[in-house]
Symmetry: C2
Subunit: 243 residues, 2 copies
């Protein structure tokens, strides 16, 4: 084992810190459990062809004006004038099958676009957790799990999802880690995995969404392994990776 | 209890994120367990009169040229030309009694100076943990625990020290918290407090210092409650707060 090359897996808690971490990885997994990356996975599970992540509402509006299906969320709510935001349930409709959707969200699309400038980006969430793990166990490479956080701050659900991946990759024997953020995320996952709902009861973002009557969304977002899709960023858009 | 005003206690994992957190607090506790804030507490325990924290080696050099006792550390080592760095043991000498010391370190003095622009700043570490807790239990106010991190990144030992304070203040019944970073730090402390050394065995910074043969420093820094000093920033320098 000592002679075997190990790949590196680490956790970055916020897109604001990405520059401190980005150098040593070939792949980045963008994670926004509540709700952007969960909604993206749900959309691919329901047959969407492409998702174009944009960072601003203005960009989304420009696409909408050209006739694209466009989704925009800010602070947990659908932006006025858009048909849908980042509720996974809004993507469970035959309307999106084979379509291209343009999406902007408060935190998640920002993380994707920051990382996509320099790295291969994949989309992670609890609903496609095992698909993410299997991908990196089968073809190991240096990978950074990038939590979207909440307006630049640490958030619990993304960090726990990242910790679920690091826990599995480190146990695979093919990976090592060197950052304290990875130790912390892995511990938090181990503690939370017994009962996601209980552990996240106090999370600030969950409270924020509960106040918006989004309990059904939360339940969906916190239920692991509902799909095998693994969206990947290619040529300006997210597509489903080849199996 | 529902009617009683609760004060707020939160954790910020890095000086780089301070701007996201700073608005709502009257006090900030700067924490750099390995080793700046520990060394500062050790210096006051050993009779230093004042410590002037500066952010750059150049500033420290300018004070040194004027005849001040000056200490400078970068990347765990004493900067060439300075008599001491941030080892707590270097402050356990009669030489510093009644003196003013100028200090610059990789992470800790930066955290102090960032926060001191706008807030009352106190110095926290594991060695004066109970003094910090008692201060805020006796005179509650909104307080942010600012981990120094490592070059902007999350670090385990500062986060755990912050979590030790939040754990005690939340249990006092006088405080509430709202940030996910606080939930995470409190949990990490609860997990670590059984055995600091075991938990931090893998911490990146501890490995960094061990490679520099600083095991004695690490043991000292991770042993809680060795002093009741509580340094506070006033008029450009740290002084011991009145008991």
């Amino acid at each position: 084992m000592a002679d075997e090359k190990k790949y590196r897996v680490e956790v970055c808690f916020s897109p604001d810190e990405f520059d401190l971490y980005k150098q040593e990885y070939t792949a980045v997994v963008a994670i926004d459990v509540l709700r952007a990356t969960t909604a993206i996975c749900a959309a691919f599970e329901n047959g969407v062809e492409k998702i174009i992540p944009v960072s601003t509402v203005e960009e989304a509006q420009a696409y909408k004006d050209k006739g694209y299906l466009a989704a925009a969320e800010r602070n947990g709510q659908i932006v006025d004038g858009f048909a849908f935001g980042n509720s996974p349930y809004s993507y469970m409709t035959p309307e999106i099958k084979g379509q291209t959707v343009v999406l902007t969200t408060t935190n998640g699309t920002r993380a994707i676009n920051i990382a996509a400038k320099t790295h291969k980006v994949l989309i992670g969430s609890l609903i496609n957790l095992q698909a993410v793990i299997d991908y990196f166990v089968e073809k190991p490479e240096n990978v950074l799990l990038l939590a979207s956080g909440w307006q630049g701050k640490f958030n619990l659900e993304d960090s726990i999802c990242a910790g679920a991946v690091t826990d599995a990759l480190l146990k695979s024997g093919k990976y090592m880690s060197d950052e304290d953020s990875t130790i912390a995320a892995t511990f938090l996952y181990q503690k939370a995995s017994v009962n996601y709902f209980g552990f996240l009861k106090a999370s600030s973002h969950r409270r924020r969404l509960r106040n918006l009557n989004l309990n059904e969304d939360i339940k969906y977002c916190l239920t692991p392994n509902q799909t095998r899709v693994l969206p990947v960023y290619k040529d300006g858009a997210l597509v489903n990776s080849e199996p």
